[in-house]
């Protein structure tokens, strides 16, 4: 394929992706998911997963501490709201810068090791951030009660420009306060920008270097590449993506709590990426949507709904089935997630995108399958 074709294919992918994202309020209607709160989460966690995949998918370095950057992004954004202005853009800019700086520090230290040691180091740093947010940093993070807006906030820029409104304000863009679907569309546009940048990175020589690191770091070194700054750059970029996602969480709901930095949140983005397809562009987005959707649907189920669903079964069997099935919904929806995850990793190690590829390949046997660098390798970077 020549250069034009590739960039055209990327442009088509972006156009389709934009269409899918922007029409979410329409096509999510039949799924009962077309309300702003959930769609915002779809957009935000997709950004988180795309960024995570730039590190994990391209370099093979599996970070288990990306929630730290998400949390720092949220805290920074809320502070920007409290001190300066309710405008979303400065909040996002500060969040990206600060999470990027944190990523430089954590990445610089963690990338001295590889494989499982790298994962453990990132996990340790993230847990440290989480515990700091709960303890010594309480003046900044407000500890357990979460960082929130309050009426005494200075908001220097806003106060200078207009009289203070009564009550707590919400996030805005150039003086226009988000309402209804506008918050979602703002996140959606951010997602499209994030996707576009990821496309550029995937197609650049830099992206190829990262794939080289994943494939064979020894060869990269003997080929004349200083691999560490490449890996660090990827780490910082993906930390900034997480910071952006964290800031958007605060834009849609101006509140930041330490639980956002907990290891479960770091684990979740790993699941999203693997579920969708490591190293592919759209896979992590699909993974994020599926996990957030089912989290929402399954956790809302309760025993009565399950009981009604199995009404057709004879009485004795009905009780047993309901007793078992109800363990997988509501509070226990993580059990379902775990099960799905196990099935995917065992039968479709390349995630949903590999499934898609297999199906298109079945319909299109005459054409040779293109080389697929995007396999989940069982071994992280050396």
């Amino acid at each position: 394929m020549n250069a034009l074709l590739t960039s055209r294919r990327d442009a088509i992918t972006l156009a389709i992706f934009a269409l899918v994202v922007l029409t979410m309020p329409v096509w999510l209607q039949p799924f009962g998911a077309a309300y702003p709160g959930l769609m915002q989460k779809f957009a935000i966690y997709a950004i988180f997963a795309i960024g995570f995949n730039i590190l994990f998918g391209l370099t093979g370095y599996l970070s288990f501490g990306h929630a730290a950057f998400l949390g720092v992004g949220s805290y920074t954004a809320v502070w920007s709201f409290k001190l300066l202005t309710m405008d979303a853009l400065p909040a996002i800019a500060f969040a990206i810068i600060l999470s990027g700086l944190l990523a430089v520090v954590i990445g610089y230290l963690s990338l001295r090791r590889s494989g499982i040691y790298f994962s453990i180091l990132t996990l340790a740093f993230a847990q440290m951030c989480y515990n700091l947010a709960y303890s010594v940093l309480t003046p900044i993070t407000n500890g357990e009660t979460s960082l929130q807006l309050n009426l005494q906030d200075p908001r220097i820029i806003d106060s200078a420009l207009a009289p203070r409104p009564a009550g707590l304000p919400s996030a805005s863009l150039f003086g226009h306060t988000f309402s209804g679907l506008q918050g979602f569309y703002f996140c959606a546009v951010m997602l499209l920008i994030a996707f576009f940048i990821a496309q550029k990175i995937f197609a650049s020589p830099f992206g190829m270097m990262l794939r080289g690191i994943k494939s064979n770091q020894t060869r990269m070194n003997y080929t004349g590449f200083n691999t560490r700054p490449y890996a660090l750059t990827a780490f910082v970029i993906s930390g900034m993506y997480a910071g952006l996602a964290g800031a958007l969480l605060a834009v849609t709901d101006p509140l930041a709590g330490a639980e956002r930095m907990q290891w479960t949140a770091s684990g979740e983005v790993v699941l999203m990426t693997i579920l969708g397809g490591v190293g592919t562009l759209t896979g992590p987005v699909l993974g994020a949507w599926i996990i957030k959707y089912f989290e929402n649907i399954f956790s809302a189920f309760n025993e009565q709904i399950v009981s009604r669903f199995f009404d057709f079964l004879p009485a004795g069997m009905h009780d047993v089935v309901v007793a078992v099935a109800s363990k997988f919904v509501g509070e226990g929806w993580n059990l379902t997630l775990g099960l799905v995850f196990v099935l995917i990793v065992v039968f479709l190690p390349g995630g949903i995108m590999e499934g898609v590829r297999r199906i298109t390949h079945m319909f299109d046997k005459s054409r040779r399958a293109p080389p697929t660098p995007a396999r989940l390798s069982t071994q992280p970077a050396e």
Partner: protein, 255 residues
């Protein structure tokens, strides 16, 4: 005739692994444009010597000087950027990338140096790198396999591709660790032809090899290593006639 220019000078190198004296008192001078073979029985220290040259192992004492620069203590990527490329005993390749990509990556290292944030242009749009890689593959006779995954190549093809990955950087010194091990006779001969072709371009090479057929068809100079020491040094004919070599390695008169 001008005094030959020494490209690589291994000076007084010792290497110990615990009690094992893997390399003792090695002194080697590799001259520009020559193909220098290092032979010796298993365990003689050939690979250790190569690893000391490339910076993978630090010598216990002594220095390695390449083109006026001391290599000891330098990182592998710095040594490569000085102009030394290496083919490994077991091919070190990018198994899950395509053959073309495998060859493009070293070309980028040559053009962009050890680190460059090249985020804005797409790789596909860089015709020069791509054309260069395709010409290189043509040269080693692998252009028709350019879209295959490198990991699915035959062993011989992997080695040939790795050679292409080194050659595209036009190194001043090429180190080859048993470049024909595990190849069929036919593949071996193809590789010999290829290496002869490079020689005509004036590239300096150090070859470690077991196959005497390869050594005697390529080498200008041979050093024989046994138990960590160089026991003989000279042209193929001198080495062939040396009784010490026959005793230590060739195991009787050369057939």
């Amino acid at each position: 005739m001008a005094i030959p220019n020494v490209v690589l000078h291994v000076a007084d190198v010792h290497k110990r692994f615990g009690g094992l004296h893997a390399l003792a008192d090695i002194d080697l001078q590799i001259e520009e444009g020559q193909t220098h073979a290092i032979i010796g029985p298993n365990g003689a220290g050939k690979s250790t010597l190569l690893n000391v040259c490339i910076g993978k192992l630090a010598p216990t004492s002594g220095t390695v000087v390449f083109d006026g620069q001391v290599l000891t203590g330098k990182k592998p990527y710095e040594i490569n950027q000085l102009g030394i490329a290496r083919v490994f005993q077991t091919p070190e390749i990018f198994a899950d990338l395509s053959v073309l990509q495998n060859v493009m990556i070293p070309a980028l290292a040559k053009r962009d140096g050890a680190f460059k944030l090249n985020l804005l242009r797409s790789l596909e749009s860089q015709r020069d790198i791509r054309t260069e890689a395709e010409e290189m593959l043509e040269d080693v006779g692998m252009l028709n396999r350019r879209d295959m995954l490198a990991g699915s190549l035959s062993r011989g093809d992997k080695r040939r591709m790795e050679l292409a990955m080194c050659l595209i950087q036009r190194p001043r010194l090429l180190l080859l660790d048993e470049p024909t091990a595990g190849m069929s006779r036919h593949d071996t001969n193809t590789t010999i032809e290829l290496l002869k072709k490079i020689k005509s371009r004036g590239m300096t090479k150090v070859i470690i090899e077991h196959d005497m057929h390869v050594v005697f068809s390529l080498a200008d100079k041979i050093s024989v290593l046994a138990q960590g020491r160089i026991i003989a040094d000279g042209t193929p004919d001198e080495v062939r006639g040396n009784p010490k070599v026959q005793e230590a390695y060739l195991g009787g008169p050369q057939q």
